[in-house]
């Protein structure tokens, strides 16, 4: 209950706010905020599944490029590099790409759309597969995405995109209980001149 409290408070605040903008203007505002963010993040993924005795946590760094896609550099539990672009997901080993999933796969299509929308800042294209319920306030925003009836995503209960302060979250809930919680924290170059690590994908 304590874990759900901040969300409930925020929802109440959102629904009672005098600033009840319409969906389009809210999406435009969210877009503006997202486009101000950096293109490199540290991420933590916590996956809870019936087949797992305990949550599986993985973490690493993520870099976004408008043209080349998303580069996931996993550091735990194993080190690995994965690239997501419009053609599919690739595992990169010794500069060689192995395709793990190709475009056309409904899961890939949905999630690559979600990620690209999130990091490009343009959430409107998600309306093709989902019904969007956005809400925002001065400290952040939240969008609940529910699969449209008749789509191939019937097994998904909900996807929630949220930003509070610096942290962006993507939560995914399946109907039969499995869930994924991804948190992205921006990586900012320090004043001492630390350079961001060169991407392993491009």
């Amino acid at each position: 209950m304590t874990r759900r409290l901040p969300a409930l408070v925020m929802m109440l605040y959102v629904f009672c706010s005098p600033v009840m903008a319409d969906q389009a203007s809210m999406l435009a505002e969210i877009r503006q905020r997202l486009q101000q963010q950096t293109d490199q993040f540290d991420f933590t993924q916590e996956r809870q599944m019936v087949v797992l005795a305990r949550p599986m946590v993985s973490s690493g760094r993520l870099q976004f490029s408008q043209n080349a896609g998303l580069c996931w550099q996993l550091s735990t539990p194993y080190t690995a590099v994965m690239l997501i672009n419009s053609d599919g997901i690739y595992q990169i080993e010794e500069s060689r790409r192995k395709q793990l999933m190709a475009s056309g796969n409904p899961v890939f299509e949905t999630f690559s759309h979600v990620y690209m929308a999130l990091f490009r800042g343009d959430l409107v294209p998600l309306q093709r597969d989902f019904t969007l319920a956005p809400a925002l306030d001065a400290n952040g925003w939240i969008i609940r995405l529910q699969p449209k009836p008749g789509s191939a995503l019937g097994w998904l209960r909900e996807v929630v995109l949220e930003q509070r302060g610096d942290v962006t979250r993507l939560r995914l809930q399946e109907h039969h209980g499995d869930s994924v919680d991804l948190r992205f924290t921006p990586v900012v170059p320090t004043a001492t001149g630390d350079q961001l690590s060169q991407s392993a994908c491009w």
Partner: protein, 772 residues
Amino acid sequence: MLVNSWHRTLALIWLALVLAALGYLIQVSVQRDLLQTNMFAFLPPLAQRQTLQPAIEAYTSQNNQQLVVLLESDSPAELTGAATALTTALTDNEIWKLSLDQKADPGQFWHDYLPYAGSLLSRRDAEVLQSGDFNAFLRNVSLGYATPMALSGALLQDDPLFLLQNFLQEASGGGSVFRMLNGWPLLENDKSAALILPFYTTLDVYDLNANSRLAGGVAQAKQQLLLDYPDVRMSALGAALYVHHSVSQSRREVSIVGVGSIVAILLLFLWWLRSPLPLLASLLTLGAGLLVAFALMVAMFGSVHLVALVFCSTVLGMGIDYALHFFAHRKHGLSGFDSLRRIVTPSGMGMLTSALAFLALALVPFPGFRQVALMSSIGLVSVWISVMLWLPYMAFGLRLQPVPFQANHWLNIAPIKKTSLAILVLVLALCMVPGVLQLTPQDDIRLLQATHSTLRDAEERLQHWLGFRPEAAYFLITGNSEQDALDNMQMLCDQLRQLSPVKAQRARCLTDWLPGPQRQRQNHQLLARLAQDQSVWNGLLDLGLQPELLQRYREQLQQRLSVLGIDAFLASSASAANGFLWLGQFDSMVAGVVQVSGVGDSTELELLASQLPGVNWIDPVSEFSAMFRQFRQQGALYVFASYLLLLLSLAFRYGLRGAVAVSWPVLLAVIVVLGVSGYAGLPFNLFSVLALILVAGMGIDYGIFLREGDASHPSRVAVMMSAATTLLAFGLLALSQTIAVRSFGIVVLIGVSVVLMGTLLTYSTTKEDGRT
């Protein structure tokens, strides 16, 4: 008088024969189709493929019966509505059936494959397990759970190590290209969406009536769809539509050219004979002759190939020449029987030499050519008999007006000295030599027919959405048993991947979905070894996987091998998209197909096929093109041989010098046709050779008539008129869009002109002393 009485009796017998032939044809046409239109039936089965022929035919026929419809729009929702409306319209009269199970449960796929999970592995997993590097295997499993994509927990309960998921994903080429929307397979890109609807028919697409219904059904459905869904773009592809297009185009061209030439010939007859009746009488007489020949052919072969019938127009052309000679003499004031007496010998000579030449065509080892040879020979004899027996009666009492102006002017070519003519001919022939050397024959069967722009667009649209357009060439895989054939196919597909990864992506292998039994046994052994390695299972427990679940899964892997066989595969939902690649049992042979796409040079693939057991590279287009080349070359020899044959048969009557005088224009025409074709880069193919045979057959008649008629005025007029009608009837084919037809027309146009000029010049020559 006695002769007249005999003639009348024979004419009556001929009438009885014509009526009997008509009755027979009516009776037979009720039971079956009298015309064969399948181009491949005209060609011989490929000799080296005799044992594979049933499998090749089964695959070809299966392909021919498919129709693929592509619907494109910006709105997926509109597409599903259009798909439902189109399917209802197309399947309404039951000539087309939808080969897609809309109610198929996508989850069924998984359930169909799950019992065989112990023997199915993706290539990537098999490689890792084969290497024995279980750490790498553990890492892959771990990455599976750490992927930033969603995972289906329901599937992982049966497949916690992703092995079956990886297999199915790899089989589908990395992922399904389709997204199911309301039971329809939807393809999408950033801008628009498309639906691909597969249909099939059980009708014979080459049957003209059936084809008209099949193509008509598609056209009607498209028309309605465009009215109801103006924003949806529809493209359709299928053998039925190609056949319909070819037949319609030929019909359209033949009717345009045919009507054009009939009108022109009619005007020519009207101008020359001042009456339409001679033409009517001639056509009726010739029609009767052809009817008897056609009935004889149907009685012998069961049906007549369209090409044989088209070639018969040559016979019609020759027949009209006999009639023209008849009327030329009638116009000169002779009676019907006197005119007949004047033409019976030259036309008989012409008929016999041409029939002999046509008959020699039967030596070409095309089954269709045998029909052409017999049909032409029988037709020519029959038409000649008809002209000789009926025309005097048909033209009885016909008054022919003399031409009101001095017509002799345009007939009298200025006399030329024999030596001058010989030099002229020699120079012309020598000028043609470089052209002959530049001649580039065109035997590619695909270039012989024009593809409709709508069908070409449809091909491009489908390739755009699917990224795969099966070639006409393919691998045919055979074996003594199903297991044997699948193992052979597996070996081929493995080799294709090693050969070139790019090519492998473009190969459609059934073994991606149904690995060969040997491969499945190897997979099972790898999994059994994995199950026995305690360190792997400890590692999996460390990853956090449920211990009970892992134990259950481990026990399953150690169970008895369960091989996915062809029957189980064909009963599974996966067979809907790939089952057509399995052809089944043929006598003692089992066969399947591997399709390829984007093959440029097929040498590597042919070599591969020759090295692997039970693998055959089937390239019908290349093989038929090679056959066309072979028969074009043989045909050229045949033209030469038939010219010699004509020369010899003419030498019997006219002596060698006389025979040369009659026939040299034909030889010159052949050289000029080859030379001009070479200089102008005109297409030269099998159909050009066939046209040369026509030129030879008709051209020789011109010489014979002038020789026998002593180059008299009526003979000259008749020869001129014959040439004019031939040029009008066949020369207009040079305007055709179909290369095969155009080649035929061009050769006739050039050839007949040269023969006519040559023949007229021959009989206008003077000796050195000035005598003609």
